[in-house]
């Protein structure tokens, strides 16, 4: 019988793009994918599904906001699209943030397309 200890190597990274004057254009961070489920109970599997869906939506949001910020490097846009903070923290926020980022009027007026409210910083 062989004993086995699971050791690993973790990678985190960050990248910051600034123009020649030091003005921030975009900041990127690594996003950790969810850990695989460690049990087969329904709540474990559902938790994993939730985390995987949230991961996909947050990743999509970061990709979109970087594309948007890079395309608008000399324009005045919401700071969160340059810094990535605050990042959506749950499914509700992630869905709203993605919808908002795809809506030009919502981006411009900082309005949530589902709630019709403005200045919703968490979304």
């Amino acid at each position: 019988m062989k004993g086995k200890a699971s050791s690993g190597v973790g990678i985190t990274w960050g990248a910051e793009h600034r123009d020649g004057n030091g003005v921030l254009i975009t900041r990127q961070v690594s996003i950790e994918p969810p850990s695989p489920p460690t049990c087969i109970k329904p709540q474990c599997l559902l938790r994993y599904l939730y985390d995987a869906l949230l991961y996909a939506l947050v990743s999509t949001w970061h990709s979109r906001r970087v594309v948007y910020a890079e395309a608008n490097r000399h324009k005045d846009i919401l700071e969160r699209y340059r810094t990535g903070e605050p990042s959506p923290e749950n499914l509700w926020q992630a869905i709203h943030a993605n919808l908002k980022l795809t809506c030009p009027l919502c981006r411009r007026y900082n309005a949530d397309p589902l709630l019709f409210r403005t200045n919703i910083n968490k979304l």
Binding site: G3, K4, A5, S6, S7, G8, V9, G10, I11, T12, W13, G14, A15, E16, H17, R18, D19, G20, G22, I25, T26, Q28, S30, S35, S59, H62, S63, R64, V66, V67, E70, A71, R73
Partner: protein
């Protein structure tokens, strides 16, 4: 007494020190973290990536993103003392260049130790800077 096994916290620090400090001159055939290069094109980081084709992308050889020694490679602490090798570098663009990620290589410049692909490609212009940081942590568990 039941059998048991575990890597140790001091062991992590020792491995990190080796990875951050071993140069070509010290060990034939293997060396530690030292170099960095920018990537362009479609980029997906994968364990199976090779030196020739990190992230499935193209290694840049111009506009300030060519393979160079990183500004700093040091050990740092993430969970236990000195369990991490940390690389920091600032690229300065010397021309217009799309950058989709970066790869970190050994001192021999023949093995990619780690690669990172961005959320979306960056449109670098002359004099733009790209400050990158990569941390490789040795730890228990995945």
């Amino acid at each position: 007494m039941a059998q048991s096994q575990s890597p140790t916290a001091l062991g992590y620090a020792e491995i990190a020190t080796l990875v951050s400090a071993v140069t070509t001159a010290m060990a034939a055939g293997a060396s530690g973290m030292q170099s960095i290069v920018g990537l362009t094109g479609a980029c997906t980081a994968a364990e199976a990536s090779t030196f020739a084709n990190p992230g499935g992308a193209t290694k840049l050889a111009a506009n300030g993103f060519t393979l160079v020694d990183a500004d700093t490679v040091v050990t740092s602490t993430t969970t236990v003392t000195n369990d991490t090798v940390e690389l920091d570098h600032v690229f300065t663009a010397s021309g217009t260049q799309s950058v989709s990620g970066f790869a970190v290589e050994n001192d021999d410049d023949d093995v990619v130790l780690a690669e990172c692909c961005f959320n979306a490609a960056l449109a670098m212009e002359t004099s733009d800077t790209l400050t990158v940081e990569l941390k490789l942590q040795f730890k228990l568990g995945s």
